[in-house]
Every structure is written in C-alpha cells, then in structure tokens.
Amino acid sequence: MRLGRYLQAFSLVALAVLLAVALTYKGLGDLPNPAVRDLALWYLYTTLNPEVPNMTVMSPEAVTAIVWDYRGLDTLFETMVFFLAIVGALAIMRGITLNEGGEGLHIERYGLSLITKTATKLLVPLIIGVSASIALHGHLTPGGGFQGGSAAAVAPLLVLVIFSTYYVVFKLRLSELSMISLRTLGLMGIYMTSFATLILGLVIGVNAYIFQNMPKANAFIGLPPALGGSLISGTLFFFNLFEFFAVAAGFTLVFILLSIPEVKAREVLKGEEHGH
C-alpha cells in the first residue's frame, strides 16, 4: 500500500521527464532565454536612475518599487483583501473572546518546557530586531513591509504556542482591541501615505496624482528621495513601515482568534438566534 504510493509518485516524476523530453525534442526553441521583455526593461531602467529625475522611483529595489509605486494600487487593495479576510474572521468569531477568567488560572503551568520558554524570551527581541531590519531596508535590499511583518509575527506566534494563549492575553495584555488598534494605525498610515502627494498638490495648487512618489513630467512635486544622504525613496519607506505594523498585528490577531479554546466558542454559539 505505502510502497505502491511511492511508486505512483515516482511514475509521476517519470511522466514529467517524458513530458520534458517531448517538449525538448520537438525543438521548441531556447528556454529560458537571456533576453527580457520590453516592459521589464522600462522598469529596470527607471527604478533608480538619477539622470531621468522625473521618471524614477529612486529605489534600487525594483520589486518593492513596483509593489508600492508603479503598481501601488494593487498593493493597497491586496492589503484590503487581507484586511477583509481578517474582518470576515472577526465577524465569524464575534463575541467569542478570552476576556475574563484569567484570575484562577495557573498560567505558568501551561505551555512547553522551561528550556523552550527561556529560549523564546531571548528570541523575541532578536526576531523583532531582525524583521524590523528586513522591513526598514525594504527599499534597498530584498524585503519590505510584508516580509518584515510576517517575520515579526513569529514572535507573538511563538509566545502564544510556547507559553499559551492565556499568557498572551492575561500577562502580556495583547488583546483583540490592542491588535485592532495597531492594525488600524498601520492601515491608516498606508492610506494617508498613498494620498500624501495628492493632498500636498491640492494644498499648493499643483497637479499631483494618487500614489505619486517622485516628481513627474507634468506633476512637479514629490516626497524627498533621500534624507541626510541616505536613500529613503519617498513614500516607499513609509509604506514599508506602516505595512510592517499592519501585517504583524494582523497575523497576531488571527492567531489570537484561532487559539481561543473551543469551549468558549460553544458557549457563545449555543442557542444563538440567526437572521434570515
């Protein structure tokens, strides 16, 4: 039975080999090719090019530049999808919380062993430091708000799994409300940043666009590309910073919701009325 399964898996690999041989032998041309598409060349030429000051992002990181500047709208709505997913989860879990009942618990008795707990204590600040570095250097090196934020979410996740959800909620006071507040802070930051240049333009009476970062040929304003000689790439720094908060808080919220004991959910759901 088990052996048969492995045989099936390997025959799949053999199938892939055959497929590849067939495709190759038909002489389908050079794959992959050392050339690249025209649109990609545009991105690569303009992502950091001081010689075309009104058509550049001033960030050496082309991917972050596309994500938050060229196609910033996509990312705003991607953030919104994540936000809506969490709101949907909150709507399903509405009323099911772990707000009281922490007094009689021996919180120390839950969780994994002493060694694991001690290591986690040491690990948490290190993880946050490293992930903040990933997020804040998002416009210079690979990484960015989402990458940093999801790496930072390891810290609360580890605390939650290793110490127990009671520890997180009653000792560390990471409640639903505080996470929603932090998340709203991040989201509103993203929102404000995306409108920053437009509002600036309206105030001083110059043409400007939503999601505008650097000056453009027909819209001459933009945020500063560098501060004190260090690149911050205008809006990219702020986007990464706020996204970091939003994502880290979002994941923490999800795991706090997921780790609520099932007993609580059943208490709330029992005999609940529903609409039509």
Partner: protein, 93 residues
C-alpha cells in the same frame, strides 16, 4: 591562493550537499512516525539555509542572504507547533 580556486572548491562541495539533501528527503518522506518526518524536514531546512547562503557566495549576489535567516526562523516555528500539536489538548494551552 586565487579566489577562483577557492570558489571552485566550494563548487565541488555543492553536489555533496545535494546528495545529503536527497538522503534527508528519503527520511522525510518515509517517516515512519511524525516526529521523524519533522526532524528530517528540520535538518533539511537548516542545511538548506546554510546551502542557500553558500549559493549566494557562489553566485556573487550578496542580497540573497536574508532568505537563510527567515528560513531558519520559520523552520524552528514548524518544530515548535508540531511539538505543541503532539503534546497538548488545544494549541492555545
């Protein structure tokens, strides 16, 4: 010594890593128990983290390095919640 000689030596070490990975994968797929599989994935991924760092040297692309640290971090998390899964009644306790 010339740097190219050193890079060549590293290059010849890479297939050895590949072999080791395949052995780990055999263990990870075979099991027989869940801790066995997780341990194999675990060892595989830590070595993979090191391997990816080495590849970054070979390719001469330093900016690939953060991948290693993130991989190591999350594989540790995988360990922890498998352990938690096996040990506890609810994941939150």
């Amino acid at each position: 010594m010339d740097e190219n000689v050193l890079l060549n030596m590293i290059l010849y070490a890479l297939p050895v890593y590949l072999l080791a990975f395949l052995l780990y994968v055999v263990r990870a797929v075979k099991g027989p128990t869940i801790p066995d599989m997780v341990l194999a994935v675990d060892a595989l991924s830590y070595d993979l983290a090191a391997f990816l760092a080495i590849l970054a040297v070979v390719f001469k692309i330093p900016i690939l390095i953060p991948v290693a640290i993130v991989l190591a971090l999350w594989i540790y998390a995988l360990d922890i919640y498998v352990a938690k899964y096996l040990e506890s009644k609810e994941m939150g306790e």
